[in-house]
């Protein structure tokens, strides 16, 4: 227990807010941009290349004084389905959130079909879940299927 606690302390302890843990290190910056954390005014701290028993190198993000909405955190499931999300109140875990793929992904992901209208007009993309268990979505416009593994974030 003590050992774990000291490891956690490598990243500042959170009083109130959201912790996103067990992000594969190479996905950290994708998660940051997906959640738009670059434009956050609250204090955000993150750890990178931390040792993990579950995955080779993990990353962690702590967001102070902000409790992310389920629609926001569910976006994380697109790129880091094994991430763990908890809400902290008064230094205690107040709620654990089970990540679930959203029914729709709007605007964040690029369609892989170069002939798709979304790659040829200034407009938002939209993907609709067709099989969440298999992580399969369909472009609302060109109707091509895409798996979460293949998805590319919009620049």
């Amino acid at each position: 227990m003590e050992k774990d606690a000291s490891k956690e302390m490598k990243v500042a302890k959170l009083c109130n807010g959201t912790v996103i843990d067990h992000i594969p290190s190479d996905k950290l910056f994708k998660v940051i941009s997906l959640l738009g954390l670059e434009n956050f005014n609250n204090q955000v701290t993150f750890g990178y290349n931390l040792d993990s028993k579950k995955i080779s190198k993990k990353a962690i993000i702590k967001i102070s004084d902000r409790f992310l909405q389920p629609e926001e955190v569910n976006k994380v499931a697109i790129i880091a389905p094994k991430a763990k999300i908890v809400m902290i109140r008064d230094y205690e875990v107040a709620e654990k959130i089970q990540l679930e793929l959203p029914d729709e992904i709007c605007g964040d992901v690029k369609c892989l079909n170069p002939k798709c209208i979304t790659n040829n007009e200034p407009m938002k993309t939209r993907f609709v879940a067709i099989n969440k268990a298999k992580g399969l979505f369909m472009c609302h416009y060109c109707e091509r299927a895409v798996s979460t593994e293949e998805m590319l974030l919009k620049e």
Binding site: K115, I117, A145
Partner: protein
């Protein structure tokens, strides 16, 4: 504000809707000249040229007494000056009561339907959808077989990229079909459509041989051409382009009620001699497009 009513994809239509459109089309076949759209304007925007489809829609509109505006080639339109699809559609929607559009970009019609205040009819968006083709296919099937239910349908050729095949599978799924998919390995039906059949409990078989056995029990033989433009590897195309040629000899053992359909144009997959065979139906099939399109235009205009 976007129009609620558009026809973008055949999957929008359930069994009842399909049947009501086909019934309406049958009325237009009886009497194609009805001036019920007097004073209406139909726009035909062909960002990708397709003379056959455009003439079919324009004839449909003219026979209903509507006026037609539009363009037949994007090089004569403002898109070449860099105008967005959004702007083109917004402007045309101010002039027309319904917009028929064909575009080489996939999803263009869906997007247009979200922008336009008047209904959009998708007349083909790249390799994606072409719903009025499917309706005329269904019309032709019902007309030649007297029904849509419980038919054995053999589909031949490019089942991988052939959008008419994919849409027809979707539409026939309401009518308990049995499919035979005949294609070379590299052009076989994508898994997503096989899964779709499995989920709907639709029986199907696959084979790469077009022979007398494969079509012996078919009611409908749906031929498609192998489209060169879908191939990135032209060597692959050369290997499969002439793989199937339907001849009178192949048709000898088939059922009397069998009819041959083809979305046209054909390249070499149906021998000329078959044109005289009473089982050939592809030219009448193309003509049925007129009635199906009249029915769709009226339906979307609420007439």
């Amino acid at each position: 504000m976007a129009s609620e009513k558009s026809l973008v994809s055949i999957s929008q239509y359930g069994k009842d809707k399909i049947l009501s459109i086909l019934d309406r089309a049958a009325q237009f076949e009886q009497n194609p000249n009805q001036k019920i759209l007097d004073g209406k304007v139909v726009a035909t925007l062909f960002f990708e040229p397709s003379t056959r489809t455009r003439l079919s829609f324009e004839t449909a509109a003219n026979r209903l007494g509507a006026r037609v505006i539009g363009f037949s080639d994007a090089s004569t339109s403002s898109t070449t000056k860099g105008e967005t699809l959004k702007d083109t559609i917004t402007i045309v929607a101010n002039y027309a009561d319904v917009i028929v559009m064909r575009h080489f970009i996939e999803g263009a019609a869906r997007y247009a339907s979200e922008i336009s205040k008047v209904p959009i009819i998708n007349a083909g968006d790249g390799a994606n959808q072409h719903p009025t083709q499917t309706l005329l296919d269904l019309y032709s099937i019902r007309k030649t077989q007297g029904k849509l239910d419980n038919l054995k349908v053999a589909m031949v050729g490019d089942l991988k990229y052939g959008r008419t095949v994919h849409s027809l599978i979707n539409a026939l799924s309401h009518f308990n079909p049995t499919f035979k998919f005949i294609s070379p390995k590299v052009l076989e039906l994508p898994n997503a459509y096989k899964l779709f059949c499995d989920e709907k409990g639709i029986k199907y078989e696959e084979t790469s041989e077009l022979n007398e056995d494969a079509i012996a029990d078919a009611d409908i033989l749906y031929m498609t051409r192998v489209q060169k433009e879908r191939f990135t590897d032209l060597f692959e195309y050369e290997k499969v382009k002439n793989i199937y040629v339907l001849t009178n000899k192949l048709l000898e053992g088939t059922k009397d009620n069998l009819r041959i359909l083809h979305p046209l144009p054909r390249v070499g997959e149906i021998a000329d001699e078959v044109d005289q065979n009473p089982k050939a139906y592809y030219f009448q099939q193309a003509q049925n497009g007129l009635y199906a399109r009249q029915a769709v235009i009226c339906d979307l205009l609420g007439v």
